[in-house]
Amino acid sequence: MIDIQNLQFGYRKGKIFNGLSLHLQAGHIYGLLGKNGTGKSTLLRNIAGLLFPDEGSIRVMGKDPSKRQPEFLHRIFLVPEEFYVPPVTPAKYMEVHAPFYPAFNREYYTRLLLEFEIPLDRTLQQMSYGQKKKVLISFALASGTSVVLMDEPTNGLDIISKSQFRKVLAGTADESKCIVISTHQVKDLENLIDRVTIIDEGRILFDQTLDAIQTRLLFKISFDSEETRTALYSESSLRGKALVMANTHGEEGKVDLELLYKAIIMNRPAVLSAFPA
Protein backbone atom coordinates (compact mmCIF):
# COMPACT_ATOMS: atom_id res chain seq x y z
CA MET A 1 0.00 0.00 0.00
CA ILE A 2 2.83 2.39 0.89
CA ASP A 3 6.13 1.61 -0.71
CA ILE A 4 9.12 3.78 0.07
CA GLN A 5 12.35 3.05 -1.75
CA ASN A 6 15.70 4.64 -0.99
CA LEU A 7 14.12 7.89 0.20
CA GLN A 8 16.52 10.81 0.35
CA PHE A 9 15.18 14.00 1.80
CA GLY A 10 16.62 17.02 3.50
CA TYR A 11 15.87 20.58 4.46
CA ARG A 12 18.31 23.43 4.01
CA LYS A 13 19.70 22.79 7.48
CA GLY A 14 20.56 19.20 6.71
CA LYS A 15 19.67 15.74 5.50
CA ILE A 16 16.80 13.94 7.21
CA PHE A 17 16.56 10.69 5.24
CA ASN A 18 19.47 9.07 3.51
CA GLY A 19 18.20 5.98 1.73
CA LEU A 20 15.18 5.05 3.84
CA SER A 21 13.13 2.11 2.56
CA LEU A 22 9.86 0.99 4.09
CA HIS A 23 6.87 -1.07 3.04
CA LEU A 24 3.55 -0.62 4.81
CA GLN A 25 0.57 -2.85 4.10
CA ALA A 26 -3.18 -2.58 4.42
CA GLY A 27 -4.86 -4.15 7.42
CA HIS A 28 -2.35 -2.88 9.95
CA ILE A 29 -1.99 -0.09 12.45
CA TYR A 30 1.61 1.00 12.37
CA GLY A 31 3.26 2.76 15.25
CA LEU A 32 5.99 5.06 14.00
CA LEU A 33 8.10 5.75 17.04
CA GLY A 34 11.03 8.03 17.49
CA LYS A 35 12.44 10.96 19.37
CA ASN A 36 11.41 14.52 18.58
CA GLY A 37 13.03 15.77 15.39
CA THR A 38 13.93 12.36 14.00
CA GLY A 39 11.88 12.82 10.86
CA LYS A 40 8.55 11.18 11.75
CA SER A 41 6.44 14.16 10.67
CA THR A 42 8.62 14.69 7.61
CA LEU A 43 8.06 11.09 6.59
CA LEU A 44 4.28 11.45 6.97
CA ARG A 45 4.30 14.66 4.93
CA ASN A 46 6.31 12.91 2.21
CA ILE A 47 3.74 10.11 2.16
CA ALA A 48 0.89 12.64 2.00
CA GLY A 49 2.47 14.48 -0.95
CA LEU A 50 3.14 17.67 0.97
CA LEU A 51 6.91 17.27 0.64
CA PHE A 52 8.70 15.79 -2.34
CA PRO A 53 11.62 13.34 -2.08
CA ASP A 54 15.01 14.65 -3.20
CA GLU A 55 15.76 11.17 -4.49
CA GLY A 56 14.20 7.74 -4.29
CA SER A 57 10.53 7.00 -4.68
CA ILE A 58 7.32 6.85 -2.74
CA ARG A 59 4.27 5.06 -4.10
CA VAL A 60 1.03 5.12 -2.16
CA MET A 61 -1.69 2.82 -3.53
CA GLY A 62 0.38 2.79 -6.73
CA LYS A 63 0.32 6.56 -7.05
CA ASP A 64 2.98 9.21 -6.81
CA PRO A 65 1.95 11.41 -3.84
CA SER A 66 3.86 14.45 -5.11
CA LYS A 67 1.37 14.81 -7.98
CA ARG A 68 -1.42 15.39 -5.43
CA GLN A 69 -4.07 14.05 -7.79
CA PRO A 70 -7.64 14.06 -6.42
CA GLU A 71 -7.94 10.27 -6.76
CA PHE A 72 -4.92 10.02 -4.46
CA LEU A 73 -5.97 12.77 -2.05
CA HIS A 74 -9.46 11.36 -1.50
CA ARG A 75 -7.93 8.06 -0.40
CA ILE A 76 -5.51 9.47 2.15
CA PHE A 77 -6.07 11.64 5.21
CA LEU A 78 -3.39 13.28 7.32
CA VAL A 79 -4.08 14.48 10.84
CA PRO A 80 -1.12 16.79 11.44
CA GLU A 81 0.26 17.53 14.88
CA GLU A 82 -0.42 21.23 14.41
CA PHE A 83 -3.44 21.89 12.30
CA TYR A 84 -5.89 24.50 11.11
CA VAL A 85 -9.64 24.28 11.43
CA PRO A 86 -12.05 26.74 9.78
CA PRO A 87 -14.61 28.79 11.73
CA VAL A 88 -17.53 26.45 11.07
CA THR A 89 -19.48 23.97 13.17
CA PRO A 90 -18.60 20.25 12.97
CA ALA A 91 -21.78 19.68 10.95
CA LYS A 92 -20.91 22.41 8.45
CA TYR A 93 -17.37 21.07 8.27
CA MET A 94 -18.79 17.71 7.23
CA GLU A 95 -21.22 19.31 4.80
CA VAL A 96 -18.49 21.09 2.84
CA HIS A 97 -15.67 18.56 3.14
CA ALA A 98 -17.36 15.16 3.06
CA PRO A 99 -18.33 15.35 -0.66
CA PHE A 100 -14.62 15.35 -1.53
CA TYR A 101 -14.37 11.85 0.00
CA PRO A 102 -16.55 9.36 -1.91
CA ALA A 103 -16.48 6.77 0.90
CA PHE A 104 -17.27 9.22 3.69
CA ASN A 105 -19.55 7.78 6.38
CA ARG A 106 -21.73 10.57 7.78
CA GLU A 107 -23.39 8.44 10.43
CA TYR A 108 -20.06 7.25 11.74
CA TYR A 109 -18.73 10.82 11.89
CA THR A 110 -21.77 11.92 13.90
CA ARG A 111 -21.43 8.90 16.19
CA LEU A 112 -17.75 9.62 16.82
CA LEU A 113 -18.50 13.26 17.63
CA LEU A 114 -21.03 12.11 20.21
CA GLU A 115 -18.62 9.55 21.58
CA PHE A 116 -15.93 12.21 21.93
CA GLU A 117 -18.52 14.53 23.56
CA ILE A 118 -17.92 17.37 21.10
CA PRO A 119 -20.06 20.51 21.65
CA LEU A 120 -21.87 20.50 18.32
CA ASP A 121 -23.23 24.04 18.55
CA ARG A 122 -19.78 25.66 18.70
CA THR A 123 -17.60 26.47 15.74
CA LEU A 124 -14.34 24.57 15.50
CA GLN A 125 -12.35 27.70 16.31
CA GLN A 126 -14.33 28.17 19.53
CA MET A 127 -13.30 24.72 20.74
CA SER A 128 -10.32 23.70 22.85
CA TYR A 129 -7.27 22.21 21.16
CA GLY A 130 -8.24 18.72 22.29
CA GLN A 131 -11.81 19.09 21.00
CA LYS A 132 -10.59 20.37 17.63
CA LYS A 133 -8.25 17.42 17.40
CA LYS A 134 -11.03 14.99 18.22
CA VAL A 135 -13.22 16.47 15.45
CA LEU A 136 -10.35 16.10 13.00
CA ILE A 137 -9.69 12.52 14.11
CA SER A 138 -13.41 11.75 13.78
CA PHE A 139 -13.43 13.18 10.28
CA ALA A 140 -10.28 11.25 9.34
CA LEU A 141 -11.72 7.96 10.54
CA ALA A 142 -15.11 8.57 8.92
CA SER A 143 -13.56 9.72 5.64
CA GLY A 144 -13.29 6.13 4.42
CA THR A 145 -9.78 6.71 3.12
CA SER A 146 -7.54 3.71 2.68
CA VAL A 147 -4.60 5.45 4.34
CA VAL A 148 -4.88 7.44 7.55
CA LEU A 149 -1.76 9.20 8.80
CA MET A 150 -1.77 10.63 12.31
CA ASP A 151 1.02 12.75 13.65
CA GLU A 152 1.12 12.75 17.45
CA PRO A 153 -2.66 12.25 17.65
CA THR A 154 -2.74 11.93 21.43
CA ASN A 155 -0.92 15.20 22.08
CA GLY A 156 -3.32 17.55 23.81
CA LEU A 157 -5.83 14.82 24.65
CA ASP A 158 -6.76 14.21 28.28
CA ILE A 159 -6.61 10.73 29.82
CA ILE A 160 -10.26 9.91 29.08
CA SER A 161 -9.93 11.17 25.51
CA LYS A 162 -6.80 9.09 24.96
CA SER A 163 -8.71 6.03 26.05
CA GLN A 164 -11.63 6.97 23.76
CA PHE A 165 -9.17 7.51 20.93
CA ARG A 166 -7.69 4.03 21.35
CA LYS A 167 -11.15 2.48 21.45
CA VAL A 168 -12.39 4.36 18.41
CA LEU A 169 -9.28 3.61 16.39
CA ALA A 170 -9.40 -0.08 17.22
CA GLY A 171 -13.02 -0.11 16.04
CA THR A 172 -12.20 1.61 12.77
CA ALA A 173 -9.26 -0.51 11.64
CA ASP A 174 -10.06 -3.11 9.01
CA GLU A 175 -8.33 -5.15 6.35
CA SER A 176 -8.56 -2.40 3.74
CA LYS A 177 -7.04 0.36 5.85
CA CYS A 178 -3.46 1.26 6.58
CA ILE A 179 -3.20 3.46 9.64
CA VAL A 180 0.13 5.03 10.52
CA ILE A 181 0.48 6.73 13.86
CA SER A 182 3.57 8.71 14.60
CA THR A 183 4.28 9.48 18.21
CA HIS A 184 6.92 9.88 20.84
CA GLN A 185 4.35 9.04 23.52
CA VAL A 186 4.89 5.33 23.23
CA LYS A 187 2.52 4.35 26.05
CA ASP A 188 -0.46 5.81 24.20
CA LEU A 189 -0.20 3.21 21.47
CA GLU A 190 -0.14 0.14 23.67
CA ASN A 191 -2.78 -2.45 22.78
CA LEU A 192 -3.48 -0.54 19.59
CA ILE A 193 -0.77 -0.98 17.01
CA ASP A 194 0.17 -4.27 15.43
CA ARG A 195 3.48 -3.24 13.92
CA VAL A 196 6.23 -1.13 15.42
CA THR A 197 8.59 0.94 13.31
CA ILE A 198 11.22 2.95 15.12
CA ILE A 199 13.10 5.60 13.24
CA ASP A 200 16.03 7.65 14.39
CA GLU A 201 18.09 10.16 12.49
CA GLY A 202 16.27 9.27 9.29
CA ARG A 203 16.86 5.54 9.33
CA ILE A 204 14.76 2.57 10.37
CA LEU A 205 16.14 1.13 13.59
CA PHE A 206 13.48 -1.49 14.08
CA ASP A 207 10.50 -2.74 12.12
CA GLN A 208 8.59 -5.75 13.44
CA THR A 209 5.02 -6.91 13.95
CA LEU A 210 3.75 -7.09 17.50
CA ASP A 211 3.31 -10.86 17.10
CA ALA A 212 6.97 -11.23 16.19
CA ILE A 213 7.99 -9.10 19.16
CA GLN A 214 5.84 -11.18 21.50
CA THR A 215 7.33 -14.36 20.10
CA ARG A 216 10.94 -13.21 20.26
CA LEU A 217 11.09 -10.94 23.28
CA LEU A 218 9.97 -11.15 26.85
CA PHE A 219 9.28 -8.12 29.01
CA LYS A 220 9.36 -8.66 32.73
CA ILE A 221 10.17 -7.24 36.14
CA SER A 222 12.71 -9.26 37.99
CA PHE A 223 14.98 -9.25 41.04
CA ASP A 224 17.00 -12.16 39.72
CA SER A 225 20.58 -11.04 39.11
CA GLU A 226 21.16 -13.87 36.64
CA GLU A 227 18.19 -12.75 34.55
CA THR A 228 19.41 -9.17 34.72
CA ARG A 229 22.85 -10.24 33.53
CA THR A 230 21.51 -12.10 30.50
CA ALA A 231 18.87 -9.47 29.61
CA LEU A 232 19.09 -7.69 26.28
CA TYR A 233 18.23 -4.49 28.11
CA SER A 234 17.56 -3.65 31.73
CA GLU A 235 16.67 -0.64 33.78
CA SER A 236 15.87 -0.02 37.40
CA SER A 237 12.28 0.56 38.41
CA LEU A 238 10.51 0.88 41.77
CA ARG A 239 9.29 -2.70 41.48
CA GLY A 240 12.70 -4.17 40.57
CA LYS A 241 14.60 -4.46 37.30
CA ALA A 242 12.59 -3.96 34.14
CA LEU A 243 14.03 -6.39 31.60
CA VAL A 244 13.83 -7.09 27.90
CA MET A 245 14.91 -10.65 27.35
CA ALA A 246 15.12 -13.09 24.49
CA ASN A 247 11.99 -15.26 24.63
CA THR A 248 13.73 -18.58 24.28
CA HIS A 249 11.00 -20.70 25.91
CA GLY A 250 8.03 -19.35 23.99
CA GLU A 251 6.47 -17.70 27.01
CA GLU A 252 3.45 -15.48 26.48
CA GLY A 253 3.71 -11.94 27.71
CA LYS A 254 2.68 -8.37 27.09
CA VAL A 255 4.84 -6.04 25.03
CA ASP A 256 6.01 -2.99 26.93
CA LEU A 257 6.41 -0.52 24.09
CA GLU A 258 8.24 2.04 26.15
CA LEU A 259 10.77 -0.50 27.34
CA LEU A 260 11.13 -1.88 23.83
CA TYR A 261 11.73 1.61 22.49
CA LYS A 262 14.41 2.32 25.08
CA ALA A 263 16.02 -1.06 24.46
CA ILE A 264 16.23 -0.34 20.72
CA ILE A 265 17.70 3.09 21.28
CA MET A 266 20.20 1.95 23.93
CA ASN A 267 21.12 -1.53 22.76
CA ARG A 268 19.80 -2.15 19.27
CA PRO A 269 22.23 -4.91 18.14
CA ALA A 270 21.37 -7.06 21.15
CA VAL A 271 17.63 -6.69 20.61
CA LEU A 272 17.91 -7.37 16.88
CA SER A 273 19.92 -10.51 17.61
CA ALA A 274 16.73 -12.03 19.02
CA PHE A 275 15.09 -11.79 15.60
CA PRO A 276 16.00 -13.92 12.59
CA ALA A 277 18.00 -11.97 10.01
Binding site: R45, L50, Q69, P70, L73, Y84, Y101
Partner: protein, 259 residues
Protein backbone atom coordinates in the same frame (compact mmCIF):
# COMPACT_ATOMS: atom_id res chain seq x y z
CA UNK B 1 -4.81 17.91 -16.43
CA UNK B 2 -8.13 16.46 -15.32
CA UNK B 3 -10.64 19.16 -14.54
CA UNK B 4 -13.91 18.51 -12.76
CA UNK B 5 -16.62 21.15 -12.53
CA UNK B 6 -18.19 19.12 -9.73
CA UNK B 7 -15.04 19.47 -7.61
CA UNK B 8 -14.77 23.12 -8.60
CA UNK B 9 -18.30 23.59 -7.30
CA UNK B 10 -17.35 21.88 -4.06
CA UNK B 11 -14.30 24.13 -3.70
CA UNK B 12 -16.41 27.24 -4.28
CA UNK B 13 -18.96 26.09 -1.70
CA UNK B 14 -16.24 25.21 0.81
CA UNK B 15 -14.53 28.59 0.41
CA UNK B 16 -17.82 30.43 0.79
CA UNK B 17 -18.73 28.45 3.92
CA UNK B 18 -15.39 29.22 5.52
CA UNK B 19 -14.73 32.78 4.36
CA UNK B 20 -18.08 34.37 3.65
CA UNK B 21 -17.93 36.45 6.82
CA UNK B 22 -14.56 37.89 5.80
CA UNK B 23 -15.80 38.66 2.29
CA UNK B 24 -18.97 40.33 3.55
CA UNK B 25 -16.97 42.47 5.98
CA UNK B 26 -14.56 43.41 3.22
CA UNK B 27 -17.34 44.44 0.85
CA UNK B 28 -19.06 46.37 3.64
CA UNK B 29 -15.81 48.27 4.27
CA UNK B 30 -15.48 49.03 0.56
CA UNK B 31 -19.12 50.19 0.44
CA UNK B 32 -18.48 52.46 3.42
CA UNK B 33 -15.37 54.00 1.84
CA UNK B 34 -17.16 54.56 -1.47
CA UNK B 35 -20.11 56.16 0.33
CA UNK B 36 -17.71 58.54 2.11
CA UNK B 37 -15.99 59.31 -1.20
CA UNK B 38 -19.30 60.13 -2.92
CA UNK B 39 -20.38 62.24 0.05
CA UNK B 40 -17.16 64.29 -0.01
CA UNK B 41 -17.39 64.58 -3.80
CA UNK B 42 -20.88 66.07 -3.55
CA UNK B 43 -19.88 68.25 -0.64
CA UNK B 44 -16.80 69.78 -2.25
CA UNK B 45 -18.40 70.46 -5.64
CA UNK B 46 -21.01 73.12 -5.07
CA UNK B 47 -22.65 73.54 -8.46
CA UNK B 48 -21.68 71.57 -11.54
CA UNK B 49 -20.61 67.93 -11.20
CA UNK B 50 -19.10 65.90 -14.05
CA UNK B 51 -20.49 62.39 -13.94
CA UNK B 52 -17.27 60.94 -15.37
CA UNK B 53 -15.22 62.10 -12.39
CA UNK B 54 -17.11 59.57 -10.25
CA UNK B 55 -15.32 56.89 -12.25
CA UNK B 56 -12.09 57.91 -10.53
CA UNK B 57 -13.53 56.30 -7.40
CA UNK B 58 -14.51 53.27 -9.47
CA UNK B 59 -10.97 52.62 -10.62
CA UNK B 60 -9.15 53.61 -7.42
CA UNK B 61 -11.37 51.23 -5.42
CA UNK B 62 -11.17 48.55 -8.08
CA UNK B 63 -7.38 48.62 -8.22
CA UNK B 64 -6.89 48.84 -4.45
CA UNK B 65 -9.55 46.35 -3.41
CA UNK B 66 -8.83 44.04 -6.32
CA UNK B 67 -5.12 43.82 -5.68
CA UNK B 68 -5.58 43.32 -1.94
CA UNK B 69 -8.10 40.57 -2.62
CA UNK B 70 -5.83 38.95 -5.21
CA UNK B 71 -2.87 39.09 -2.82
CA UNK B 72 -4.97 37.08 -0.34
CA UNK B 73 -5.90 34.36 -2.83
CA UNK B 74 -3.31 31.84 -1.67
CA UNK B 75 -2.73 33.24 1.81
CA UNK B 76 -3.40 29.73 3.16
CA UNK B 77 0.00 28.72 1.84
CA UNK B 78 1.76 31.25 4.05
CA UNK B 79 1.57 28.96 7.08
CA UNK B 80 2.18 25.26 7.37
CA UNK B 81 -1.08 24.53 9.21
CA UNK B 82 -3.35 26.31 6.73
CA UNK B 83 -1.21 25.20 3.82
CA UNK B 84 -1.57 21.51 4.72
CA UNK B 85 -5.31 22.07 5.12
CA UNK B 86 -5.49 23.69 1.67
CA UNK B 87 -3.24 21.33 -0.27
CA UNK B 88 -4.83 18.21 1.23
CA UNK B 89 -8.27 19.00 -0.17
CA UNK B 90 -8.91 16.40 -2.89
CA UNK B 91 -8.97 18.63 -5.97
CA UNK B 92 -6.46 19.35 -8.72
CA UNK B 93 -4.16 22.35 -8.58
CA UNK B 94 -5.96 23.67 -11.65
CA UNK B 95 -9.33 23.50 -9.89
CA UNK B 96 -7.89 25.25 -6.84
CA UNK B 97 -6.39 27.95 -9.04
CA UNK B 98 -9.66 28.50 -10.90
CA UNK B 99 -11.52 28.70 -7.58
CA UNK B 100 -9.02 31.33 -6.39
CA UNK B 101 -9.35 33.28 -9.65
CA UNK B 102 -13.14 33.15 -9.44
CA UNK B 103 -13.23 34.54 -5.90
CA UNK B 104 -10.50 37.15 -6.18
CA UNK B 105 -10.97 38.25 -9.77
CA UNK B 106 -14.50 37.44 -10.93
CA UNK B 107 -16.74 37.43 -7.86
CA UNK B 108 -14.89 40.33 -6.24
CA UNK B 109 -15.08 42.45 -9.38
CA UNK B 110 -18.77 41.64 -9.87
CA UNK B 111 -19.61 42.43 -6.24
CA UNK B 112 -17.52 45.60 -6.32
CA UNK B 113 -19.16 46.86 -9.53
CA UNK B 114 -22.61 46.11 -8.13
CA UNK B 115 -21.86 48.05 -4.94
CA UNK B 116 -20.28 50.91 -6.88
CA UNK B 117 -23.18 51.35 -9.29
CA UNK B 118 -25.80 51.10 -6.54
CA UNK B 119 -23.96 53.79 -4.56
CA UNK B 120 -23.37 55.92 -7.63
CA UNK B 121 -27.06 55.74 -8.57
CA UNK B 122 -27.99 56.68 -5.02
CA UNK B 123 -25.44 59.52 -4.95
CA UNK B 124 -26.69 60.91 -8.30
CA UNK B 125 -30.29 60.68 -7.10
CA UNK B 126 -29.44 62.60 -3.92
CA UNK B 127 -27.47 65.25 -5.84
CA UNK B 128 -30.43 65.76 -8.20
CA UNK B 129 -32.56 66.59 -5.18
CA UNK B 130 -30.59 69.83 -4.77
CA UNK B 131 -31.68 72.35 -7.41
CA UNK B 132 -28.48 74.39 -7.22
CA UNK B 133 -26.39 71.36 -8.21
CA UNK B 134 -26.25 69.91 -11.70
CA UNK B 135 -24.92 66.63 -12.99
CA UNK B 136 -23.56 66.68 -16.50
CA UNK B 137 -21.43 64.63 -18.83
CA UNK B 138 -18.00 65.99 -19.63
CA UNK B 139 -17.84 67.66 -23.05
CA UNK B 140 -15.22 65.15 -24.26
CA UNK B 141 -16.57 62.32 -22.11
CA UNK B 142 -16.80 59.84 -25.00
CA UNK B 143 -13.01 59.81 -25.28
CA UNK B 144 -12.82 58.55 -21.73
CA UNK B 145 -14.27 55.18 -22.73
CA UNK B 146 -11.10 54.21 -24.57
CA UNK B 147 -9.15 55.08 -21.42
CA UNK B 148 -11.55 52.92 -19.37
CA UNK B 149 -10.97 50.02 -21.75
CA UNK B 150 -7.23 50.21 -21.21
CA UNK B 151 -7.68 50.59 -17.48
CA UNK B 152 -9.74 47.39 -17.39
CA UNK B 153 -7.04 45.54 -19.32
CA UNK B 154 -4.35 46.90 -16.99
CA UNK B 155 -6.49 46.02 -13.97
CA UNK B 156 -6.84 42.37 -14.99
CA UNK B 157 -3.08 42.12 -15.61
CA UNK B 158 -2.15 43.84 -12.33
CA UNK B 159 -4.65 41.80 -10.32
CA UNK B 160 -3.31 38.56 -11.80
CA UNK B 161 0.20 39.68 -10.91
CA UNK B 162 -0.89 40.03 -7.27
CA UNK B 163 -2.52 36.62 -7.44
CA UNK B 164 0.81 35.22 -8.62
CA UNK B 165 2.54 37.10 -5.80
CA UNK B 166 0.25 35.46 -3.27
CA UNK B 167 1.45 32.00 -4.27
CA UNK B 168 5.11 33.06 -4.51
CA UNK B 169 5.53 35.05 -1.32
CA UNK B 170 4.77 33.36 1.97
CA UNK B 171 4.36 36.57 3.97
CA UNK B 172 3.44 40.18 3.13
CA UNK B 173 2.47 39.13 -0.39
CA UNK B 174 0.88 42.51 -1.21
CA UNK B 175 3.93 44.54 -0.21
CA UNK B 176 6.43 42.14 -1.73
CA UNK B 177 4.52 41.96 -5.02
CA UNK B 178 4.34 45.75 -5.17
CA UNK B 179 8.07 46.10 -4.50
CA UNK B 180 8.91 43.37 -7.01
CA UNK B 181 6.74 44.98 -9.70
CA UNK B 182 8.37 48.37 -9.11
CA UNK B 183 11.84 46.81 -9.30
CA UNK B 184 10.97 45.01 -12.55
CA UNK B 185 9.61 48.22 -14.10
CA UNK B 186 12.67 50.23 -13.00
CA UNK B 187 14.93 47.44 -14.29
CA UNK B 188 13.12 47.45 -17.64
CA UNK B 189 13.45 51.22 -17.99
CA UNK B 190 17.17 51.07 -17.16
CA UNK B 191 17.57 48.19 -19.63
CA UNK B 192 15.82 50.18 -22.34
CA UNK B 193 17.90 53.30 -21.69
CA UNK B 194 21.33 51.73 -21.21
CA UNK B 195 21.16 48.59 -23.34
CA UNK B 196 18.44 48.87 -25.99
CA UNK B 197 18.92 52.52 -26.88
CA UNK B 198 22.72 52.30 -27.58
CA UNK B 199 22.03 49.31 -29.87
CA UNK B 200 19.13 50.79 -31.79
CA UNK B 201 20.84 54.18 -32.04
CA UNK B 202 18.67 56.57 -33.99
CA UNK B 203 15.72 54.24 -34.17
CA UNK B 204 12.88 55.96 -32.34
CA UNK B 205 9.49 54.56 -31.50
CA UNK B 206 6.45 56.45 -32.72
CA UNK B 207 3.02 56.52 -31.14
CA UNK B 208 1.99 53.53 -33.26
CA UNK B 209 2.92 49.94 -32.55
CA UNK B 210 5.33 48.53 -35.14
CA UNK B 211 6.22 51.91 -36.64
CA UNK B 212 9.70 53.33 -36.09
CA UNK B 213 11.36 56.54 -37.17
CA UNK B 214 15.03 56.91 -38.12
CA UNK B 215 16.87 60.14 -38.55
CA UNK B 216 19.84 59.77 -40.92
CA UNK B 217 23.07 61.76 -40.61
CA UNK B 218 22.07 64.09 -43.47
CA UNK B 219 18.95 65.06 -41.59
CA UNK B 220 16.40 63.10 -43.60
CA UNK B 221 13.88 61.03 -41.74
CA UNK B 222 12.72 57.50 -42.62
CA UNK B 223 9.79 55.59 -41.26
CA UNK B 224 9.95 51.82 -40.96
CA UNK B 225 6.71 49.92 -40.59
CA UNK B 226 6.47 46.29 -39.57
CA UNK B 227 3.94 44.13 -41.44
CA UNK B 228 0.50 44.84 -40.11
CA UNK B 229 -0.10 41.31 -38.79
CA UNK B 230 3.10 41.52 -36.73
CA UNK B 231 2.10 44.89 -35.32
CA UNK B 232 -1.36 43.57 -34.48
CA UNK B 233 0.12 40.46 -32.90
CA UNK B 234 2.54 42.50 -30.78
CA UNK B 235 -0.23 44.83 -29.64
CA UNK B 236 -2.53 41.91 -28.87
CA UNK B 237 0.20 40.25 -26.81
CA UNK B 238 1.06 43.44 -24.95
CA UNK B 239 -2.59 43.93 -24.04
CA UNK B 240 -3.72 40.41 -23.25
CA UNK B 241 -0.77 38.11 -22.57
CA UNK B 242 -0.11 39.13 -18.96
CA UNK B 243 -3.02 37.45 -17.20
CA UNK B 244 -2.61 34.04 -18.94
CA UNK B 245 1.15 34.14 -18.32
CA UNK B 246 0.69 34.95 -14.62
CA UNK B 247 -2.07 32.34 -14.20
CA UNK B 248 0.15 29.71 -15.78
CA UNK B 249 3.07 30.67 -13.53
CA UNK B 250 0.76 30.53 -10.48
CA UNK B 251 -0.45 27.07 -11.52
CA UNK B 252 3.07 25.66 -11.74
CA UNK B 253 4.10 27.36 -8.49
CA UNK B 254 1.07 25.83 -6.76
CA UNK B 255 1.99 22.41 -8.12
CA UNK B 256 5.50 22.57 -6.80
CA UNK B 257 4.54 24.01 -3.41
CA UNK B 258 5.89 21.99 -0.47
CA UNK B 259 5.00 22.34 3.18
Amino acid sequence: MQFSFYRLGLLIRRQWAERSRLYILMMAAIAGLLAVAFFLWGLTNQDKLWMETANIFLFVGLFLGGTIMAAMTFSDLSQRTTGIYYLSVPATHGEKLVCGVLYSQVFFTAAYLLIFYILRTAAFAIIRLYPHMSLEHMPDGQGMYEVYQYLVIVFVAVQTLYLLGSVYFERFAFVKTTVSAVLVIVGFVLFAVYVIHPITGDLHPTGQVGVFRIESENGSEYTYTLPQWISRFIWFMVKYMWAPVFWTAAYFRLKEKEL
